[in-house]
Symmetry: C2
Subunit: 182 residues, 2 copies
C-alpha cells in the first residue's frame, strides 16, 4: 500500500496524486483507504522518514570509515546513489513538493536531516582543502549546494532509454574531481 502510493508519488509528485488514484491503483475505493491509513500525510511521512533514515546511515557510515575526504565523498556518492534510486518516491516528493512539506511542523525533521547532510559534505570538502587535496579557492558551502543538487536529481530521469545508476555515478565523480577538460 505504501509502495503503491510511493509509485504514484514518484511519477507525479505528492500533491498531484489524489487518494482516489491511490485507491484505484490498489483496486479499492477511496473511502476504504482510510481503514489502512489515517491520512495521506501519514503516508508521506512514512516514505520521507524512511528515506532520510537510510540516506543518513549512508553518510554516517562513509564518515565513520575513517578514510580521506576524497574516499569519503566517493563512498557517499556511490552508496547513497543506490539508496536514492530505491527511494525515488521520497526524492520526487522532496523535489516536487518541497515547499509544501517544508512549511509543515510535522515535517520539521526534513530540514534538520538535510542540515546534517550539508555539515558532512562541507566538513569533508574543508578537510580536503586543509590537506591540500582540493583547490584552496573552493567555497565549501557553495560547492556543496551545487553538488548535492546534481546528485539528487538523476533519479528524476530514469525513464526513457535511461542511464544506469552506475553510469550516472561515474560521470558525476569524474566531473566532480576532474571537470570536463581533456
Amino acid at each position: 500500500m505504501v509502495r503503491l502510493a510511493g509509485e504514484l508519488f514518484a511519477q507525479k509528485g505528492y500533491r498531484a496524486t489524489t487518494v482516489r488514484e491511490i485507491a484505484d491503483a490498489a483496486g479499492i475505493l477511496s473511502g476504504s483507504l482510510y481503514h489502512h491509513f489515517d491520512s495521506k500525510e501519514s503516508i508521506g511521512d512514512e516514505i520521507l522518514s524512511g528515506f532520510l533514515d537510510e540516506v543518513l546511515a549512508d553518510y554516517r557510515g562513509a564518515v565513520a570509515s575513517g578514510d580521506g575526504p576524497r574516499e569519503v565523498l566517493e563512498q557517499i556518492v556511490r552508496t547513497s546513489s543506490h539508496t536514492l534510486v530505491r527511494h525515488r518516491a521520497a526524492l520526487a516528493m522532496l523535489q516536487n513538493d518541497w515547499s509544501y512539506f517544508a512549511a509543515q511542523p510535522r515535517f520539521a525533521y526534513l530540514r534538520k536531516d538535510l542540515r546534517e547532510i550539508e555539515r558532512i559534505w562541507t566538513g569533508e570538502l574543508q578537510r580536503g582543502k586543509d590537506l591540500g587535496l582540493f583547490r584552496a579557492d573552493l567555497d565549501v558551502k557553495l560547492t556543496y549546494r551545487l553538488l548535492r543538487e546534481i546528485l539528487w536529481i538523476p533519479v528524476h530521469w530514469r525513464q526513457p532509454g535511461g542511464f544506469s545508476t552506475d553510469q550516472v555515478v561515474d560521470a558525476f565523480l569524474r566531473l566532480l574531481f576532474e571537470g570536463i577538460t581533456a
Copy 2:
C-alpha cells in the same frame, strides 16, 4: 500585477500560491483580479513564456558568436545566469510545478524549448570532444543533464546570506572545467 504574482510564485511555487494571496498582495479582493486576468493559468503562461524567450535568446546569441565550444558554454553560463535571476519566478515554477505544467497542452512549448536548450548544450559538448578540448569519454547527454540542473538551481537559494550570481557562476565554471581537485 504579474510581477506581484511572480514574487509569490517564486517564494512558494505556482500551485501553492492561491489567487486570494495574489489579490491580498495587490490590496484587492480575489474577484477583482479577474478584471485584469482571465485565469491564474494565463499569468503562469505569461511568466513562463517570457522567461523562455529570453533565455533562448541568450543561448542562440552565444552559439551565433562563432567562438569555440568552451567560450560558447562559458558565455551561455554567464549570460543566462543573470537571466535566470531576473526570472526566478519562472524558474521556481519549473522546479516546483514541472509535472503540473508538463501535463498540459497549453504549456507544450516548455518541452520544445527545453529540447532546443539540450541540443545546444550537447552540440557544444560534442564539438569540444571532436576538437580534443573535452575528455573523449564524456557522455554528452548525461553531462548536459547533470550540468543544466546545477545551473538552474542556484536561484532557489538566494535568500539567507546568499552568494552573488557572479560567485555562483565562477564556482560553477571552475567546477565544470577543472573539477575540485587541486
